[in-house]
Amino acid sequence: MKPGFLAKNPSVLSFLLVLAIFTLAVTLMSEAYGAGLVSTSMVKTLGKTLTLCLIAIAMDLIWGYTGILSLGHFAFFGLGGYMVGMWLMYARTREIVVSSAAGALPMTPQELQDAIATQIFGVVGTSELPAVWAFAGSLPAQLALVVLVPGVLAFVFGWFAFKSRVTGVYLSILTQAMTLALSLYLFQNDSGLRGNNGLSGLQNIPGLDGVGQDALSVWFLWASALALGLGYLLAHFVVSGKFGSVIRGIRDDEARVRFLGYSVENYKLFVFTLTAIIAAIAGALYYPQAGIINPAEIAPIASIYLAVWVAIGGRGRLYGAVIGAAFVSLVSTWFTGGRAPDLPLGFYTIKWVDWWSVLLGLSFVLVTLFAPKGIAGIADWLQGLRPPRRGGAPLGPGDGSLQEKEALE
């Protein structure tokens, strides 16, 4: 029998197992389906963390494997959130408008749309439904836009950037500029996405009024875990095999890859667009759990944090990115949530809410300097402690060298 895909890739199997056990454990401890040991807000935090792990995988693909330090992937994440948020807000507002008008004369579609627009856009002083909301009434259309809008943006941006052979730090600056421009645009009231108010009330899923937040949070945890598992499989498929060889080659020496006949630009464009789509899907799952999205979420700093997570977790390893995102974002939540105890030094009290960024920045510098493989490097280190598996081959070239069996004893 041929060994299956999972048997050949034990790291994927163990990752999926850990993810499944984690999801099951949280479910059994949740308020809706279990012992109630984990609060609903904690379930939401964990679900959000899973989506952050997914975007970290995207970042690892583009940065750790292909060597492009993109400082713009949170823009795609945010756009994914906006696209799904538009439907959530529109459909929810329609429900409210319809129910409050119950008993009165039935409204014409135009009246209904105007009423919805007034509800949503009253806050920015308009009652016109902007053109970008044309598909907001349709869930399938908005879900398609989750993939299409960031995908097309990444493709067009990547087309110009990569075809003109912008590389290295200049490309990072360019991606950051794109992110900043997008964020500033969304801050404007007339961008049609409610300016700095953003979209809110996204935790209420239209048509699911009967379902409480405690159950919904677990459903989203499942969806996030599923997306993370599939994303991990996809990323593993991409980096294993020859495609993975080529993109790692691009990272290490792109000129050489060109002389082998691979068009480096097309590969970069491919990976950039693919990772933008993964990031957008992660965002579309994140924001319904967060409940609110505003342009500040897209600010360049978020994308820089993403790079920090992946660096701390370990670049060039998929599980490293996941570990980094989960670990750093959870620790970050704990420190900035005000729950970390203050550290009195006598002359000065360290309040972690203020000092957390300093600590994070410091650990980033230390990891980069002293442990470039990040947390995932520990796995390598452990592997090095075990005797090598050589399938019975002699350990050395000479006849007198130890055989594998002897070395193990």
Binding site: V238, F243, R248, G261
Partner: protein, 245 residues
């Protein structure tokens, strides 16, 4: 009938004329050595043929259909059948010998096709055969970064062969090799030239003598002399250029 036809190319870097009205041509099964002092334009010439540098003027035509190489980028030129071995061995050090060879193996190069491409038994055999041919048969699973300098040179030659190019541009193949390895390299290049066009850039006169082929001498970006090694070394200008400095 020539495979590669370079005519009247010139290129200037910041006012310095690296290539000056250079013409060159090579047949489909021919071995040619290019010699010349430092700065003669040997590497720039290779850069132009492989698409790394654009000449200011001139033509570079390729193959039976006389494709204009100046309109293609590096990757397209490589796919058209021009392979290059660099002076300094450039292999992907983070990847195993087998991965390096597999990447170079002639196959579709577009992202979608590569993504779904999986090696068959025949591909594995081919990689093993190539590795054996360049003396790395038992090193397939080693990271190429761990190889010695000479082994990296060989790996790169193996990658060049894996690409199955019609024209091989080989920059100082013998650098850093032992005497025995040099002889092996010579034999390989001579053998290849029976069915391929091979251009060897070399400093080492002994090595060129062993290749026993037509020699082109470059000087200040143009061809100074061309012919057998004995013919060019008896040329007065060549002697001046080589011994006059």
């Amino acid at each position: 009938m020539s495979l590669l036809e370079v005519s009247g190319i010139s290129v200037t870097f910041d006012g310095f004329r690296a290539i000056n009205n250079l013409s060159f041509s090579i047949g489909p099964a021919e071995l040619r050595a290019i010699i010349g002092p430092n700065g003669a334009g040997k590497t720039t010439f290779m850069d132009i043929v492989t698409g790394k540098t654009r000449p200011d003027e001139g033509r570079v035509l390729w193959g039976e259909k006389s494709v204009n190489l100046l309109k293609l980028n590096e990757a397209q030129i490589a796919r058209a059948g021009i392979g290059r071995k660099f002076q300094r061995p450039t292999v992907f050090e983070d990847q195993s010998v087998a991965e390096n060879l597999m990447m170079a193996l002639k196959a579709a190069r577009s992202p979608w096709k590569v993504l779904f491409w999986r090696p068959t038994r025949a591909h594995h055999f081919r990689v093993e055969a190539l590795a054996r041919e360049v003396g790395l048969g038992d090193q397939l699973d080693r990271k190429s970064g761990e190889l010695s300098h000479g082994q990296k040179q060989w790996l790169e030659i193996g990658m060049l062969l894996a690409q199955e190019p019609r024209l091989l541009l080989v920059d100082e193949p013998a650098a850093g090799m032992t005497l025995a390895e040099r002889e092996q390299t010579t034999a390989l290049l001579v053998e290849l030239a029976k069915s391929h066009a091979v251009v060897v850039v070399e400093h080492d006169m002994d090595f060129v003598r062993r290749l026993d082929c037509r020699v082109t001498v470059l000087h200040e970006g143009s061809v100074l002399a061309e012919g057998s090694l004995d013919h060019v070394t008896s040329n007065r200008q060549v002697i001046e250029v080589y011994l006059g400095r």
